[in-house]
Every structure is written in C-alpha cells, then in structure tokens.
Symmetry: C2
Subunit: 441 residues, 2 copies
C-alpha cells in the first residue's frame, strides 16, 4: 500500500473542497483550531502527544496516481478538483502546543492557517493522530505520577491495533514511561525496549527449572524470570536456586498483587536474594499502581490500560473553523452555535499563568478579528504555549523522529512540575486549573 497519507481523510472533506472550488470560496484564507471541549473521563489535565508524528505524516500528505484514480472512479470529486489535488501540498502555517505540553478544556492545541482548500483536508489526519496519542499520553502521565520513582514499562502492543501500538509506545514514553516492549518503537524513535519471558517459555520446556536454566544461560543471572506459570513460591525457589542470589528479577503476572508481592519479597529475602527486583504486570492501571505504593514492588509493566487510555481511548479533540476571510478580504471570527457544542470563534493566543512556579490558569486571549496578539511580554508571570510547527509549508524537522520524542518527554516532565497538587490526584474531578478566556486589547 502507498505510504501516502492523503486518503486518511473523511469523504466530506473532498466533497467540500470540490464545491468550494466551484463557488470561489476555496481560496479564502482560514484559521482552523484543534481543541477539546472537556477533559474526557473527569481527568484533571490532558497531555498533548502526536505532534511529531503528525508532522511526519503531513510530509506524505500527497495525492498520487492511485489516490487520484480512486477519487475519479468513485466520482468523489470532479476533474478540476483532481487537478488541484495532483499538485496538493500544504503551504500554510501551523502553530500549536509543544508535544508533551499539558492542555485543558478550550486550549487551542493546534492552529492551522491556510486556504480553506488546503486546510480543510487535514481535519481527519490531525484529529486521528492527536486524539489517539493524547489519550494514551494522558493516561500514561497519570500512571507515571502514581508510580513515583518506580520504573514503568509499556507492554500493551498486543491490546492495540498494530500501528496504534507503535504510537502508544511513543506517547507513553513522552508521558513518563521508561521503556516499551515494542521493538518497532525502539527502531523508529529510539525508545528503550525491554522484556522478560512468556509463560510459553516455561511450557516449552519439560520443567520450569529447565526453562529458567536456559534463560539464565542465555541472558545471565541479571535476567527477570517469570515465576507464576505453576506455583509462585515453588517458582521463586527454583529461580533463586538456578540463578543464585544475584538473580536480577522475578515477574508476577497473576493473583492479588499486594498479597503476592509481599509473600514473594519475604521469600526472596529468606533465600538471600535481597536485591532481586519484583516486577508486576497483571492488568495494572493508575489506580492499581497507586494501590501498590506501599507494597515491595520494584517495577511495573502496564499493558491494556495504557494503550487504551485507561477508560478514555480518545481525547475528544475537534477541528473547527474559527476565523476566515470574507469576500472583501477582511477577517471574521466564526463559530457554530449547536446545542451543547458551541465553539469560541476567533484566533487565539494561549498562556499558562504561574504563581511561584505553580500553574494558576489557562489564559486564552481571543483576537479581535485577526490582529497579532500581544505576546507573553504583557503577562509577566505567564508562559506562552504556542510554538511554530509549520511555517509557509516548511515543516519543523526538530519535532520529528527520535530527537522530537526526547524533547517532548523532557518538556512534559518539566511542565508537569507546574501542576498544582490537586492536579495530581487520580479521582474524577474538575480540571486542575481554570480556563480563562479574555479579549485581546
């Protein structure tokens, strides 16, 4: 299949383009905005993720022969639109929140400026990437907070679509996980990879002891042995007998983890394996991790819950037209007024106001028409949140690839420190800080 991404698009974007090319509005300059009306799942903050991936996919947002032939054969658009698409390349400007940044209801996470024609086509791709990756990153950040200093590994590839698994490994790493089991994520973005062994490894061998001996022979006594295939105390004893007291770790993937972890720790200590680490991996989410805070657990492996956003698999962001030129070339703010779904029109600037390093509000300054908005200089205790991502069609390469991931992770861990204490709790509640809309002076 083509690596081009231009058909990761809902059909209506193409038919609107087709009609706009006919009626002359296709060239009107527009500002579209990506934002979330609320934080799904009663979360206290959201984490922006996917930006770097989106920029890479934008590079490949071209219509080749295969795509054009399909659109023609299916009569999605007419001949002049096909001509337009054949030369399509986004030439506008995109600014937005840094990847890894926190967001709140109404935060203008991404701002896309271009002609209607070029900007309307990016709705589905932008939302697919940001909604998925941000949902995972938000869940991952909560788990990372719950885990404190104990390392977290993402092991959920098998519970997500094979490509979303890769994106999830990336998003979890940005939000504070330390490693992933997914090798493709290691190759693509330099994320550290890790792994232990599966139950099939023990079952393949005639005895558990043979399986452990073989694993230690191959990977050394510092490896982590999975001890719950049959009986956990027997598994632990066998593991220490085979690897010696320098056994690196044991993994437990079943049972009531607080109880089992305490028993295993006591047994390991009795056997002299006082430095052997305990990794637990059974259906953990942020609540289970928090509940293990007082248990002798050394590391967590998280699967299903992180890759599925722990109950909130999509971030609920939308892509809305907020300003456009009219037929005279002047700018007008626009917004729909649908019941329960009204939007705030106008181009926006965004700041996080701070008091002694702690965030106090998400300050969103709405422009009057299309004036340049006074920047952070007029808000001495605020941090400006928008950075340029695409300027005149030129994509910021620094946001892509392994370097972009590393930058996003560092940024996330830094700005997370700004959260007020009430932002760290796991229960459902209001956002950690209020969103304040202000008109530009």
């Amino acid at each position: 299949m083509s690596a081009r991404t231009a058909l990761h698009t809902d059909r209506y974007e193409l038919t609107m383009l087709d009609a706009a090319l006919r009626d002359g509005t296709a060239d009107r300059r527009c500002v579209f905005e990506v934002f979330a009306r609320r934080l799904s799942g009663g979360r206290r903050f959201g984490v922006v993720a996917g930006t770097g991936r989106l920029l890479s996919l934008l590079r490949d947002f071209r219509f080749g022969d295969e795509e054009l032939r399909f659109l023609r054969d299916e009569r999605v658009v007419g001949a002049s639109t096909l001509d337009y698409l054949a030369d399509y390349r986004f030439t506008g400007t995109i600014s937005g929140y840094r990847e890894g940044e926190l967001y709140f209801p109404g935060s203008p996470i991404l701002e896309i400026e271009g002609t209607f024609a070029e900007a309307v086509l990016l709705e589905t791709l932008a939302l697919s990437v940001l909604n998925h990756d941000s949902a995972v990153a938000t869940a991952a950040a909560r788990m990372s907070i719950a885990a404190g200093d104990r390392p977290l590994a993402e092991m959920g590839s098998r519970r997500a679509g094979e490509q979303s698994a890769l994106a999830a490994a990336r998003a979890a790493y940005i939000a504070g996980f330390g490693a992933t089991s997914n090798l493709a994520a290691g190759l693509r973005w330099g994320i550290p990879t890790m792994g232990t062994a599966a139950h099939s490894w023990t079952l393949l061998h005639d005895t558990e002891e043979e399986a452990f001996r073989s694993q230690v022979a191959a990977l050394g006594p510092g490896t982590t042995l999975l001890v719950d295939t049959y009986d956990i105390p027997t598994g632990v004893e066998t593991a220490v007998r085979v690897a010696g007291p320098d056994l690196g770790g044991v993994r437990i993937d079943s049972g009531d983890l607080p109880t089992v972890a305490a028993q295993v720790r006591e047994l390991l200590d009795d056997l002299g394996a006082t430095k052997t680490r305990i990794t637990v991996t059974s259906d953990l989410d942020e609540f289970a991790i928090a509940a293990l805070a007082a248990s002798p657990v050394d590391a967590y492996g998280v699967g299903t819950s992180v890759v599925t956003g722990s109950g909130t698999p999509t971030a609920g962001m939308v892509y809305k037209l907020v300003a456009r030129q009219d037929s005279d070339g002047g700018w007008v703010s626009v917004a729909k007024r649908s019941a329960d779904k009204a939007s705030a029109g106008g181009r926006k600037a965004a700041f996080r106001t701070l008091d002694d390093g702690a965030a106090t509000s998400e300050l969103i300054v709405v422009s009057d028409g299309f004036e340049k908005i006074a920047d952070a200089a007029s808000h001495p205790s605020a941090r400006g949140l928008h950075v340029p991502l695409v300027v005149g069609g030129e994509i910021d390469e620094a946001a892509e690839g392994p370097a972009g991931v590393a930058t996003a992770r560092a940024h996330h861990l830094r700005v997370r420190e700004e959260l007020p204490v009430r932002g760290l709790a796991l229960s459902r509640s209001e956002p950690a800080i209020p969103t304040v809309f202000a008109e530009a002076g």
Copy 2:
C-alpha cells in the same frame, strides 16, 4: 519506514527465540492458540475480525537489513539468531475461525502450528490485529442489530489512530455497517464511502443559505445538508427552500436527538419534503441507536463509539502454547495454572451445535495429545468452525483484500442469524450460548 512487520513484536519473543536456539528447544513443534477467556464488557457474543489483515501482514513478516541492524546494535539477540531471522519465513500451518464468525469464551479462534521458533514470534502481531479488529466488530454488530433495517455509516476515523481507523472501518463493515467516511478504506478494501458536510462548510460562507446553495449546485438536490450550525428549524427551512422538496437528506449532529428528530420530521413534512431523509450523528452508540428505534430517523452515522469498541476497546484475546513435542518427539498438552488465568491445554476442534438453526452451544473437543479429531460428521447438528488459513507457509489469498472482506461480511450476517434471541439483547449478561469442553474419543 519499512513495510515489513517483523518488529511489531514484543522484545521477549526475540529473547526467547535466542535462548531456545541455544538450548535446542527452538525446533520443537508447537501449537499456539488464540482465545479469549471471557467476553469483555458483558457482551453476549464476540465477532472475529482482522483475519484477512493478519494474513496480509504475515506476508511482510520478514527481517530486513534495517531490522537486523537494530537487533544487533541493541544486542537484543546474538549472531546465530540474527542468521536465523535473516531467513525467517513462517512455514507452518494456521487454521482458525472464519473472519466474521461469532466467538465465545474459550473459542479456539486461531491455531498456529509450527516450530517454537517460528510460531513464538507471531504473538504480538496476531493479537494486535485480532484484539483491535474484533473489539470494533463486536461493538459494530451490536449497533447493527440495534439499527435493524436502517443504514449505519462508520464515521469515527478522527477518534482512532490513523491506521486503526482504517482497520475499524473494515471491521465495522464486516459486522453490518453499510459504509464508511474513510476514503483509504474505500481504496484498500472496496468499502462504500459516504459523507455529508462539516460545520466549517457553513461557517466558510457568509450565510447558511449560500453554503447550502453551493453544496446543492455541486452535488445536486439529493445531497444531505447539515442543518444544525446555527438554529435547526431555520436551517431546515433554508435547506428545503434552496434544494426544493426533493432534498435528499438533512443531518443533525447535536441536541436531544429523539426530540429534535421528531421536530425536524414534522417541519420537513409541513414543507412538503416528505421524502427527505434524516441522518443523525451525535455521539451514538448501540444504546442511543436502540433508543431512537421509534423516532423518525432514516440513517445513523456512528463515530467514537464504534471505533473504540463502545467501552471495550480491546477484545482481551491471548496467545498461548497449548501443545508441544517433547524431547522424544511425542506430543504433550501444556497449560499454565496461574491464579485466575488457567488455560485449557491441548489442540482443539470447535463446533457450533445447532437446534433448528439456532445455536445451542460452542462445543470444543480437546484432543488427547495430537490426534486428528473426528470432524463435524460425528456431530450431525453442528457446524465445524475451523478453516485452513495458512498451509505449510502458503497463505490463503482468498481471505485477503476486498474479496476477503466481502466474504467475511456475508458470513457474519449469515451466522448472526443463528444467535438465540437472548443473544440479541444489549444489556450486560452471560454469553448467548455456553461453551462446552469435551475430550476427544
């Protein structure tokens, strides 16, 4: 990035392979099984989806220079394992449930037979595809049942990772949806595509009327106009004034849908647009669809809930070793005994027993060791559920591509008719039929 899929793999699969090549167990023939311990979310049945995609991805499950270099540089495996991987190609046999088939707790959905070395590597890829696609298909089937004869379109691409969106469109279509908004799914699998217009279309124009005029000029009066950008009654009046009473449809994307649909139907009828169809699209799931059964709604567009599995974003299938050769070449059944996660060892055959066309049980016959199991002939009222998918490494081409999707959809719609009435209800409950394990005679 490489189209090869071999690194969509958890690291432990490679390290187990490495250790197995060292200790001589890599060549032991093994049978792995994909099954679900329970139906997540209290569902009454599951729908198998993703099989055709998995077979296509299996074709590309090769280790090229890029993958091998990564595994070497990261010291994931040793030199002799790299040599093995360079020539890797699955040469074993896979049989399983037809795509579109129903499944129940313990159903042996996929059976992979090969050496430990070749079969252990497929765990993550197989589960990623089947868990995601089956979760979507299961949710979609419930929506399709709730919608009855009214058409359903999948419009959720923006709420799923960009590649999972494509897979979700495919899975929803297999489970009874009639169309998707996702153009890539149309190109790749021949799924019918559809679309209306976005709120940005109305906002782009100086008035709602201009937007409607332009859309009707481009797409004809048979198009569907989105009438809720400002005020719904005004939008409906404008729509009929512009398009005439032959207006194809109106779309409503907000408000209390039963109330609004009734008002809009009355208004349309008063305006003489008695054949204009009403499509609703706001946050629908199977429960909302069922609640609209008595409302004058003609079609449903479903987004978030279908692509995220309507509360159950992953199917919870696992990949377990169930039988293997021992050092003498004899077959032994194996199973782990972990608390709450015990498995049934042994190769299995699966039948759906029927009484007058209605399913009565999922009959799973466990072989004694590795004997060929008596087939459906000995169960006159049962339907055998396993079909060959890969034989000696040769992939069944008929299961891939558009033809495979069409076959899966037809199969699903046919076997869904076998569900007993209690299987059609939406509330959380026990599986529609019991799973019965029997020993082979």
